[in-house]
Amino acid sequence: MKRMNVVLCVLLLLCVLLPIAAQGTKVSVGEVTLTMGSWRTDDVVQMNRLLAEYKKVAPNVTIKFQPTNPPDYNATLRLQLDSNTGPDLMYARSYAAGEELFKAGYFADCTDIPGLMQNFTASNLAPWQMDDGKMFAVPFAAVSHAVYYNKDIFRKEGLAIPQSWEDFLAVLRTLKSRGYTPLANGLADEWDILETFFLGMLPNFIGGADQRVRYESGELKLNDASFVAAYQAMADAAPYCPVGFESVTYNDSQVLFASQKAVMFVDGSWTAEVYKDAAFDWGLFAIPAPRGKKTAICFHPDMAITMNRATTHPDEARAFLAWLCTREGATMASENLPVGYFPMINFPITLTDVHANEFLALNSGKETDARFVWPALMDLYAPMNQAVIRVMKGQVTAKQAADSVAALF
């Protein structure tokens, strides 16, 4: 019995001591390991390339990229930060989501990072700027929204890129009458139909940033004719989505487009990489505006990188952020950015990917703006999402959908 006790005691001691010993061996002198949190699980390869490049600049610093499942990122990051186990560097969401974490004291003040205030335009800084001008992150990349289309099928059916929303509906009608599923979009995951389709095309109906501000101030109503027309456009497009689109998820949509079961997919630029090895020729066109209005692009500031205020290696973390603000660092970053993410820094940077350039080319000569609700009306995200879904299912009219959102403002 006594011997058992001794053995037990030794085992218990080992349990306590082993992890401590293991911790001790991890840290060797001069070497610093930083962790980076992110919601981009698809970008591990690219980010590791970028971080390897940084290792050449700062040989004693190793940065580990540790992404989490995109929909869970905000929640996970919060839990980590609350419990003081947050990463040293991390991706920061734009506008309210990021501001809130800065106010809570988790993000460091990045305003005086060398090069930050000089090398970005005011409008590119704004999404990560507090009202008092303080910056809480270094802008990293923007995303765009457009219609992906199967060029092979367009060629075979003798279709041209539609120049107006009415033309777009005509193309959808033609494709459906010839037995195709014209659009791959679905409703099951909810966020994608709002963010990529409705908010992606909204500038076509209501105009760019100068108009958005008038809605935010209440000068224009969220159920005016332009908004009703936008909801009506969603209702008009619904019959051309897959049969059973009510339960089609975002992944299903991607597969439908990639396997040529659907001809077009209204989606964000971040998906471009998915179709890299597609067995068919595909291209992009801007979601067209209705006749009499100018086509505009939803070009959305999406990712920024910031540092943890409580990091144990503040100098090394700052040095990395400063590197991203240099010409060298920004070029390296955009070369390693995944396809469909566009650098926001002022230096002229050429992208090599065909489709990335195709996306950027859509911007030329057009007005661009962030996604409508992001800058000031984030509370309307969920109600607008539900309104779009209801109008597409035919449960409410476009006017009722617009009224339901306007009533909450």
């Binding site: 905000n74 809570a104 089609v248 969920a382 539900q386």
Partner: protein, 303 residues
């Protein structure tokens, strides 16, 4: 010597580790979450006492209360479907499996129990694919059942019952096994006596078997109730944390996750106090139902 080791003090030593772990990881968080429901703010530094403010907001703010009552109703529907389908089939299968004339009992037992051993995320995703007309529609048409080609999970009327039925399918094995164990404990003399008296199968079940397994029925009812009011994973796997479509599969569990832990996509600002308020109400609701149920079914059951 022998007597000395059996005193209370020496037994207490063995209870201490379990008591310590239980207190640290179960009792303390539970009591702390009750306390948290009286505070606002997400981080310890800006937390402030608001009394019953979170509860007032939960029921007074129409935007929040409509979600709460929606989730509350859905959870009851979810629970009732489980009681009827999962536990009803559980009893039926158990009676069949314990019947003397039953052959291949082990095979059936295994088949019924296997889904229980799968991860909810796996079965959820598989069912989601099978119920998606885009992927399985052509198959249903080809086997002559075209009416099955339907967006079951995308329709507000069918989504909740379908999710509940998938959950029943997965967990049916547990009540079946517990009922089987309870039915096997009934002494053979009783059943023989009832047969000699000329009781039919149904009469034997209603008047002999059912009263004798009442404690197990009570336990299963309570377990189902507690599990359903904490359900989250199956909705997470088959729909999303918003309880799509249109909040029709929103349960107390997903509502709590949205308000208390994750925050509404895409801002993701959680409201810990409101979340704790939801959890507190659920806690008292569970107490209110569980304690009387256990009292009425466990008393005089065995002893």
């Amino acid at each position: 010597m022998q007597k000395k080791t059996n005193t209370l003090g020496s037994w207490l030593v063995y209870l201490l580790p379990a008591l310590f772990i239980y207190t640290l990881f179960m009792a303390f968080p539970l009591i702390d979450s009750l306390r948290l429901s009286l505070y606002s703010g997400n981080v310890p530094q800006d937390r402030s006492f608001v009394g019953l403010g979170n509860f007032a907001r939960l029921f007074g703010d129409e935007r929040i209360s409509v979600r709460y009552w929606g989730a509350f109703t859905n959870t009851w529907i979810f629970f009732i479907i489980h009681m009827v389908v999962q536990n009803g089939l559980g009893i039926l299968f158990a009676v069949l499996l314990t019947a003397e004339t039953m052959r291949g009992r082990h095979l059936y037992q295994t088949i019924i129990f296997i889904p229980t051993t799968f991860a909810v995320l796996v079965t959820g995703y598989l069912w989601k694919l099978m119920l998606n007309p885009v992927w399985s529609g052509d198959f249903f048409v080809s086997i002559g059942l075209p009416f099955l080609k339907y967006p079951w999970l995308g329709d507000t009327k069918t989504a909740l019952p379908i999710v509940a039925l998938v959950s029943c399918w997965q967990w049916m094995g547990i009540p079946t096994m517990m009922f089987v164990a309870a039915l096997r404990n009934i002494s053979i003399e009783l059943l023989e006596a009832s047969r000699l008296e000329g009781a039919s199968g149904l009469q034997t079940f209603l008047h002999i078997k059912l009263p004798l397994i009442k404690p197990v029925v009570g336990i299963i009812g309570v377990l189902t109730f507690v599990n359903n009011f904490n359900a989250f994973d199956i909705v997470f796997a088959m729909e999303n944390v918003n309880g799509a479509p249109e909040y029709s599969t929103d349960l107390i569990g997903t509502l709590f996750y949205r308000y208390g832990i994750a925050g509404q996509h895409p801002i993701g600002i959680p409201d810990a106090g409101l979340g704790a308020a939801i959890a507190t109400i659920t806690f008292f609701l569970l107490l209110l139902v569980v304690v009387p149920t256990l009292r009425s079914t466990q008393r005089g059951g065995g002893e």
